[in-house]
Symmetry: C2
Subunit: 231 residues, 2 copies
DNA sequence: CAGATTTTTGACCAGTTGGAAAAAACGTTA
DNA sequence: TAACGTTTTTTCCAACTGGTCAAAAATCTG
């Protein structure tokens, strides 16, 4: 008998939940498949970041992606797989700025550029920030272990770096964990609470310049605080 | 004919959307009605703050409130009315600390106590904070006008107070709006991202003491910033 | 072009959702 | 206890939900 031609499998399998084959499956076989999946993920980011997992519907995502629901399900057989792909794929890039916080660099420059990069991410990828925030608000049901392992390990490591700088008198002695939280909070605020920021700043100051203003202010805040006359 | 006895109306009407009677209707007629409504609102806060408006279901709320769905609908005929009641009722108390920021007080003490009170609210009313955050993430579809009018007005007013203090050299000259955003962001972070905070701090430091630590850190941050050697 | 494969579509389904209607149960008070 | 208003439950419904399936359409390959 002739050799059986093994053609492509159902693309739906590739994002498999782990029960349909060995590990390490390629993310997408053909260019077309990869493109369609990207379109779907892009549309899903839009919807999920607004509505959260439960609030988002496959129909919404399909419409935003310009395809029919069954067609979308051909590429991602479960709603949850789209969501998980977005979450995990995002967390990595999201934490990149923190990873780059460099032990050997100048503390002042390092922290300033960390704040700046985080703020830029809020400006350039607000939906990713909101997706993440949404997951947090729900108690991180699909991410908790990642937070407790990977994220905690990374923050522990960087907290040590900060502590080293404190020991060396390069930065003020304070709680490194809460310092990191403060940087996260102040920068991500401009993505997650963007509506509020714009509503409060109004027509004039709520325009594109608001990120510059925020950057200036945050630098000021983290450098000197807001009260003069050091104690 | 005998005088018609006008007894209580359908309690559902009291939260009316405005189309069933004159303005200024009493919020609840009897003690029982008020209690039931409170139970419902309490349960709804739980569910809405986790799942957002779309993600929450009446069934979930009804179960959390210990009653049947139709029974719940007897008190609040629409899902949206529960949500709106929570939102508007909350915003008021939520902004109370800012309202109390006093022109005539000592700037340092005023701002410190504002930060402390906001942090206490995150500790004591995290669900309210998350409900609000959820609405923001969705683009504040049911709150935008409130933000643009009431909230903006309040912040404008308090920004002027801060500017006055800056003119007087009481606090460092910086952007008052972004200062307020920074206080909001850093304090509410401990409610909205509570899971993350606890996951990162781990068993040891993620316990009840974390709010004390946060308070100490934030005071430090806003007072001095994190870099020594003032420029 | 023919055959095989991949992609898309339309019809469909069971479970859930917000909500309506009506009847039953309960509480007051004359 | 009867009458009346209030509260609760039962039953029901149409629209929406995530997802299936087979067939049709489009694409690729030789």
């Amino acid at each position: 008998m002739p050799p059986i031609k093994v053609k492509m499998l159902d693309p739906a399998q590739q994002a498999g939940t782990g029960q349909s084959g060995p590990e390490g499956r390629a993310p997408a076989r053909t260019r077309i498949q990869r493109e369609k999946q990207d379109v779907i993920l892009e549309a899903a980011l839009d919807v999920f970041s607004r509505e959260g997992f439960r609030g988002a519907t496959i129909d919404q995502i399909a419409e935003a992606a310009g395809m029919s629901k069954p067609n979308l399900l051909y590429y991602f057989p479960r709603k949850e797989e789209i969501y998980n792909r977005l979450l995990t794929g995002m967390l990595d890039t999201w934490l990149q700025p923190l990873r780059e916080l460099d032990d050997v660099g100048d503390p002042v420059a390092e922290i300033r550029s960390y704040i700046r990069r985080k703020l830029e991410m809020s400006r350039d990828f607000p939906r990713q920030s909101r997706l993440f925030a949404n997951e947090m608000l729900q108690g991180a049901p699909r991410m908790l272990d990642l937070l407790e392992t990977d994220l905690k390990a990374l923050v522990d490591e960087k907290a040590k770096v900060l502590e080293g700088w404190m020991e060396a008198g390069k930065i003020r002695r304070t709680d490194p964990y809460h310092l990191i939280f403060a940087i996260w909070a102040t920068t991500q605020h401009y993505a997650d609470f963007d509506v509020q920021v714009r509503a409060v700043l109004g027509q004039g100051r709520g325009g594109e310049g608001r990120f510059e203003d925020a950057a200036r202010f945050l630098e000021h805040l983290f450098m000197h605080g807001i009260f003069p006359h050091e104690g």
